[in-house]
């Protein structure tokens, strides 16, 4: 078990909120740094940004009370929601080089041994997502309340990176399958996700 040091500081955190009126919501922004290091025996104690070192964080939430659009006299209410979040890309440790290993008799030679240099020098692309929603709420009758929510998570269908993996393309030669190209592949977790929810309680 190794012990290290960690520094986290955020010199700027802003939030503006509107609480009244038909349009409500808030905008938040955070500027922050995180770094770790001074591990004995790791990179000569060099400092590096850990995974949660994301420089900029922005969130915008808006709610629009559209009750005027509902049918007069039916006592329904309609609310529109929108959210947008942005986070700077987080650091990752990717290899910088590779070599082939002969290895000892009986062991399989390795043609592709990655060489990892200084930690977390690569940054993933930024994460950004927009969600929208509509909430249609009926008036409470006796003790029964219900509403219908149509929401779309990741409405712009942005393919935010979840992780990056390596694929080695091979070609068939007289010596068998030989690797000839290395490709990086980005895998995302959630595409556009619409949903329809009916909530009720009594």
């Amino acid at each position: 078990m190794l012990l290290d040091e960690l520094y986290a500081y955020s010199p700027l955190e802003l939030e503006i909120e509107k609480k009244e009126g038909r349009l409500t919501g808030w905008i938040g922004y955070t500027l922050a740094w995180v770094k770790r290091g001074d591990f004995p025996g790791i990179d000569n104690g060099a400092w590096f940004p850990p995974r949660h070192d994301t420089r900029h964080n922005i969130s915008v939430v808006a709610l629009w009370d559209a009750h005027k659009w509902t049918k007069k006299g039916t006592n329904k209410s309609l609310q529109l929601t929108a959210t947008w979040v942005y986070t700077s890309g987080y650091p990752a440790w990717l290899p910088s080089g590779r070599f082939a290993l002969n290895d000892i008799p009986g062991a399989q030679s390795e043609f592709f041994v990655p060489i990892y240099g200084p930690r977390n020098t690569f940054r993933y692309p930024a994460y950004t997502r927009a969600d929208i929603g509509i909430v249609y709420k009926w008036k409470k009758r006796n003790r029964f309340e219900n509403d219908l929510t149509l929401s779309v998570y990741n409405a712009t269908d942005r393919r935010n990176p979840y992780f990056i993996t390596i694929a080695v393309e091979t070609e068939t030669t007289p010596l068998g399958e030989v690797p000839f190209e290395i490709k990086a592949k980005q895998v995302s977790l959630f595409p556009i996700l619409p949903s329809l929810t009916w909530n009720f309680k009594f």
């Binding site: 070599f99 002969n102 008799p105 009986g106 060489i115 990056i164 000839f180 290395i182 595409p191």
Partner: protein, 278 residues
């Protein structure tokens, strides 16, 4: 209603294909010399020195692959017992198993435990590499026991026993090959004797051997440097293909101004070839 169904159908289509090729901008990489020198008692001094590549450099067996990969024209010397041997720059493929070397000496590696070896390399383009190591004693395989299963008498397991020196910390690499030493090993792992509270250590297999199978059973007694190097290589390889695994830098025992990677180590082992029979 029709519009809602169309919306969901379109959303479903857009949701496919969550993986895509991307271009990654990695920091510039200076190729490094890679040294592998395994001192096998009774065999000539042999060394393989190659160059590493930037991670996304094109692969493949082009016509100048060897020229681009092998690092030749260096001055390679190994000193021991008051003498210094100079290895000749000569490409030597070895068969059974297939391995390659590009520096070979005339003398044979002495087997005396405790002999210190010093490696010195001066590269043609400048830069030096040095390393030291000490010959280890051989840890012999005491016995091998083949047991057929009582329930499935067509399948057997193999138990391999060694005696460990409990007065010091020892490191081993266990290899089990079927049919030939060039085959993909069925067992290949590194182990220390810290897990064992007795001097007698047993390595086993499952009931997977059939009568007539040829088994190459090898126990390498390795140095701490080699254990760290081999373990770091295994972790780096597994971390490369698994995005959820922790990557590992290579732990080398070769040093110098050339910024090398590699290992300089004795290769002491005992090997037994067993043909399984009832």
């Amino acid at each position: 209603m029709k519009n809602i169904l169309s919306f969901f159908a379109l959303a479903f289509l857009l949701s496919c294909n969550l993986s895509k090729d991307i271009e990654i901008d990695l920091p510039e990489y200076d190729r490094q010399p890679v040294v592998e020198c395994y001192l096998e008692p009774g065999k000539p001094f042999r060394l393989l020195m190659t160059r590493s590549y930037a991670f996304f450099d094109t692969l493949g067996l082009s016509s100048n692959f060897l020229q681009n990969t092998l690092l030749d024209s260096a001055l390679v010397t190994i000193s021991y017992n008051g003498q210094t041997d100079t290895l000749k720059n000569q490409f030597v493929p070895v068969l059974n198993p297939v391995k390659f070397f590009n520096y070979v000496g005339d003398n044979l590696v002495p087997a005396t435990p405790g002999t210190e070896f010093v490696l010195n390399i001066r590269l043609a383009e400048g830069g030096e590499i040095t390393a030291t190591t000490t010959m280890l004693p051989k840890v012999a395989i005491d016995s091998i026991v083949v047991e057929f299963s009582a329930e499935l008498d067509t399948l057997a397991r193999m138990l391999t026993y060694i005696t460990d020196d409990q007065n010091q910390e020892n490191f081993y690499r266990r290899l089990l090959n079927y049919s030939s030493l060039d085959s993909f090993p069925d067992q290949d792992f590194l182990v220390t004797d810290r897990f064992s509270q007795t001097a007698l250590i047993a390595f086993g297999t499952g009931y997977e051997l059939a009568e007539g199978d040829t088994v190459f059973n090898t126990i390498y007694h390795v140095t701490r440097d080699y254990y760290d190097f081999a373990e770091s290589v295994q972790l780096a390889v597994s971390g490369n293909l698994n995005p959820f695994a922790q990557p590992s830098p290579i732990k080398s025992n070769v040093r110098g101004s050339a910024n090398p990677i590699g290992i300089f180590t004795p290769l002491v082992y005992d090997r037994d070839t067993t043909i399984v029979h009832k």
